[in-house]
């Protein structure tokens, strides 16, 4: 490989997006690119952006599949708003993604993919190369398909196989632009295609050809360099939010000594948790793919009664179906982790897009007074920790817990500093002891108000639980009015008491000031980035990001009262803000909302915050 000296442009962060037809292999290309970034020490976050249909019509906007990588030499909090480098394999993907490209962005595209038919199918009136629509971008136009085929000519590869590897040509070009080494990708091919050695050769040749071609044409005048991030020392891996959630549950099962049971039904975007846990039978995980959402949660309730760390995973519509059963878990006071990977609603809504619109449902969406613990993860990697905490709180407090994540966290990936199990907090479920003469099904721990978990098979603890109201302490069926009042209060107080066991709400920035920005769940990255930008400008803005929602941390009111103005930002029409207003009626809480199936953009947040600071 010839090494010419190119000028280097050092960038703190870069967003790269790979887009093409559903079958173009954009997910693989994107993840290979991000793997290399990780190896050189960049922090990163990725997000796959694919259509709800598996194979939508070729060369149409509906069929565009994408993979976005945000990498940096400092901590990366989001998957990136606007794109610095766009790799667009056909006209449809160019047209549908141009709006995400920064002014001056580099766009690499395959000119072979542009003919009258594909241009028309993409919805263009004329070839975009011939009008001025691309003038503000740095276009790298390459006949990628032709060059890919040419590079494989000597191997006698059929044209279909050759065409299929054009994504590797584009990746090779990109590696040149970012001055990345090809070795680790070669190693990857060797592992992936162990059983098809011919594919190792093909992919290596094409990747190298792309690299060399970019070198020859000097695709960019300079190298884009993103140096290694200054990250906390430790062992790292890349992880998606859904896998992290699955692993957090496995970790909690191991720590607590309670075997893991998952009862679930496939639903986008939560299915990966079910698939991931299905792989880990060696850790004793029992995974039951049920006939429907209701059977998923009901089997989990049965498993919980039988002494398992029982979980069910779903998304919004599935949570609706599980509502009645959540009530059963609440009244039987059994531990149960319900993971809701939120998507756009109502009904089927936007299955592959993200929203935070199930908060009301998590808090209130059941018959009767039916409190549960509600917590929310805020990044793909901390899904591990919050899944673990959901399990810990649920078991220790004998109360169902809803963990809210969302499609962006679930599908997105981030670097994960691998924890040691020895460092994870202890989990001590209140197990009843065999032949305890004082055992009563609803006798409570005075501190937590949790009842004991008496596991079937244990001698001397036979008892019945069920959906009918029970007498406090004895657990006998009771319709006594005063008892129902007592039990309703107990169930609510038991959840409130969890506040004694969770950390105080942290504030990012000064603990008092002009504006407090409040957020929760998957919007952390965008809101944090917006607030830090403004803090750097010297503005009096602080940020409180909530992970614990029911109950709220004990200092919540104090935090809110220390600021002149509060704005609560959510990807819904104002569910957390109204919950806060209900708990702490204060006139100075405003809100900023978006319900488009899209994450917050940093600039729309800073615009709003600046406006609030300026208003008197």
């Amino acid at each position: 490989m010839t090494k010419k000296k190119r000028p280097v442009i050092e960038r703190e962060e870069v967003v790269v997006k790979f887009v093409g037809d559903s079958g173009d292999g954009m997910q693989l290309t994107g993840s290979m690119f991000s793997d290399v970034a990780a190896i050189v020490g960049n922090d990163l976050a990725t997000f796959p952006d694919f259509p709800a249909e598996i194979r939508a019509p070729q060369n149409t906007v509906a069929g565009v599949s994408g993979f976005q990588v945000h990498m940096g030499s400092s901590k990366i909090y989001t998957t990136g708003d606007l794109v610095d480098v766009l790799v667009a394999m056909n006209p449809a993907s160019l047209r549908s993604n141009l709006k995400w490209a920064k002014k001056g962005a580099t766009i690499l595209t395959d000119t072979d993919a542009y003919d009258d038919k594909t241009i028309e199918k993409a919805g263009y009136k004329q070839n975009p190369f011939t009008d001025s629509s691309l003038d503000s971008f740095n276009m790298v136009k390459a006949p990628i398909t032709t060059l890919t085929k040419a590079s494989l000519k000597d191997l006698g590869v059929d044209s279909k196989t050759a065409e299929r590897s054009k994504n590797m040509f584009a990746l090779g070009m990109l590696f040149y632009i970012f001055n990345r080494d090809l070795k680790s990708s070669f190693k990857y091919f060797e592992q992936k295609f162990k059983k098809k050695p011919e594919l190792i050769e093909i992919n290596k040749i094409v990747l190298q050809a792309g690299y060399n071609y970019a070198d020859t044409i000097e695709a960019l005048e300079s190298v884009i360099q993103v140096s290694a991030a200054n990250m906390e020392k430790g062992r790292y891996r890349n992880i998606t939010g859904n896998v992290a959630t699955a692993w957090g549950l496995l970790a909690a099962a191991e720590k607590s000594g309670r075997p893991l049971f998952l009862g679930s039904y496939p639903i986008t975007p939560a299915t990966e948790i079910l698939m991931e846990l299905s792989k880990h039978k060696s850790l004793g995980a029992k995974v039951f793919q049920a006939e429907d959402e209701i059977a998923g949660i009901c089997s989990a309730i049965g498993a919980s009664f039988a002494g398992s760390l029982a979980c069910t995973t779903t998304s919004g519509p599935g949570l609706s179906l599980k509502s009645e059963a959540i009530g059963l878990a609440v009244i039987t006071e059994l531990p149960l982790v319900i993971v809701n990977v939120q998507r756009g609603g109502p009904s089927t809504g936007l299955p592959t897009k993200s929203e935070q619109s199930d908060l009301y449902q998590a808090l209130f969406g059941r018959n009767g007074e039916c409190p549960v613990i509600v917590i929310a993860a805020s990044s793909s990697e901390n899904c591990f920790y919050y899944a673990y905490m959901a399990a810990k709180l649920s078991m220790e407090h004998m109360t169902p817990t809803i963990l809210l994540t969302d499609g962006y966290l679930g599908f997105g990936s981030a670097l994960f500093r691998i924890p040691k199990m020895a460092d994870m907090p202890a989990i001590n479920p209140p197990l009843a002891e065999a032949n305890d003469p004082d055992y009563k099904p609803y006798k409570r721990d005075p501190e937590t108000l949790a009842r004991q978990w008496a596991i079937p098979g244990t001698e001397g603890l036979r008892h019945r639980v069920g959906g009918l109201e029970k007498e406090n302490v004895t657990g006998v069926v009771s319709t006594d009015p005063m008892n129902h009042q007592v039990m309703t209060t107990m169930r609510a107080q038991k959840v409130e008491k969890v506040a004694d066991y969770i950390p105080d709400q942290a504030i990012d920035g000064s603990p008092e000031g002009d504006l407090l920005v409040v957020s929760w769940g998957g919007t952390y990255g965008a809101v944090h980035s917006a607030v830090s930008e403004m803090q750097k400008e010297g503005k009096s803005v602080s940020h409180a990001h909530f992970h614990y929602i029911m109950p709220l941390p004990k200092n919540t009111e104090k935090v809110l009262k220390s600021f002149k103005k509060i704005v609560v930002c959510e990807l819904n029409s104002g569910q957390f803000v109204n919950y806060l207003r209900m708990k702490f009626p204060m006139p100075n809480i405003s809100q900023f909302n978006k319900v488009q199936g899209l994450p917050f953009m940093i600039n729309e947040l800073t615009d709003k915050f600046n406006q609030l600071l300026e208003e008197k």
Binding site: K281, S299, R462, G466
Partner: protein
């Protein structure tokens, strides 16, 4: 008859009926068939010989589903229609429990129909006691999926216009491995069938034709009534010819592809011509025909119609876990966290 699943721990003391009697008041109506079923369960549990702590009763909603409160075992009274799903979770979580699912015709065949067919298809090792009183009792008298067509109920003042399920046909159609049918007025037969159900590895469904004295009184009387039962009931015994009648003078034969009632001693028919019942046959062909028989042209058959050997879901779960544990490099969560692509910073 004596071999009982060894997965469930056995007791080393002789248990009695008293070990399973609950201190709770039984609140079924006087004359309800539930009382006899409860009595049969209390009799059969000590006979089965498992530790009393290893029994777990699970129910849904309806009159039948109050059952767990009336026996002294571990128990969950669930929500409407979901007993089969809850039971599945209990059994998968701990295969060492003997799980008994108590349900009714509304609970299992209407609102819980989906769970019912799928638990059967999976052959989870559960014992389902399905109290079939052909009516919704707890909501005071609406028709159910087993109410005979044309029956006047509170929601069918002009008679129902729905075809009822035949439970045996549904069970076998859902790949069921065990089906028995018993009347609630024959405790000995009920006890025998429950014992057979316990013995069977896999989902057993025992349909108990239960009388609801308030809303569907004598619904089963045309079949199980003392005055008619000699002619209308055929009690099966595996390995024996299928005969009925006051003096066992009638029997079933297979003519071409259909069952037919014949009289022994007439037209040259002898006992040797009578079809012999095989509850263990894997092929459900004859068993399905038997399950569907009904007066007036045939007797209805009772006892164990089918108990075929197939692997159980819970055994296969355990087998896969055992194999994975033996062969996987990932032995604990630390191994998992550090598996695949990781790097040091």
């Amino acid at each position: 008859m004596d071999f009982i699943n060894m997965t469930v721990e056995r007791t080393n003391v002789q248990l009695t009926k008293a070990d399973f009697e609950s201190d709770q008041m039984v609140k079924w109506c006087p004359g309800c068939g539930g009382h006899a079923i409860l009595s049969a369960v209390e009799r059969v549990f000590p006979k089965i010989g498992y530790r009393k702590e290893n029994f777990c009763m699970v129910s849904g909603i309806g009159c039948s589903s109050r059952f767990p409160y009336y026996v002294n075992t571990y128990g969950i009274h669930g929500i409407h229609g979901r007993a089969a799903a809850i039971s599945t979770g209990v059994k998968i979580a701990n295969p060492r429990l003997s799980v008994w699912t108590v349900t009714g015709d509304g609970d299992s065949l209407a609102i819980g129909g989906n769970h019912f067919i799928h638990v059967i298809r999976r052959n989870v090792d559960l014992n389902i006691l399905l109290f079939n009183n052909q009516i919704y009792g707890l909501t005071k008298g609406q028709f159910s999926p087993t109410t005979p067509m044309g029956k006047v109920t509170k929601t069918s003042p002009m008679g129902t216009i729905e075809h009822p399920f035949n439970i045996g046909e549904l069970v076998i159609g859902a790949q069921g491995t065990f089906f028995a049918r018993v009347p609630d007025n024959n405790i000995a037969l009920m006890t025998d069938c429950m014992f057979e159900a316990a013995k069977h590895d896999g989902t057993s469904v025992t349909e108990i034709m239960e009388n609801c004295i308030i809303f569907a009184d004598k619904a089963h009387a045309p079949v199980t009534g003392k005055d008619v039962k000699d002619e209308t009931m055929l009690i099966l015994k595996s390995g024996s010819p299928m005969v009925f009648g006051k003096n066992n003078e009638k029997g079933l034969i297979l003519k071409d592809t259909m069952l037919e009632v014949v009289e022994i001693g007439k037209n040259g028919i002898t006992i040797d011509d009578i079809l012999v019942h095989d509850q263990y046959s894997q092929d459900p062909g004859i068993q399905l025909m038997l399950a569907k028989l009904a007066p007036p042209h045939f007797p209805m058959v009772f006892g164990v119609i089918r108990s075929a050997m197939y692997p159980t879901y819970d055994d296969l779960v355990e087998e896969q876990i055992k194999y994975a544990k033996e062969t996987s490099k990932i032995k604990n969560v630390d191994d998992l966290l550090n598996s695949g692509d990781t790097w040091e910073i």
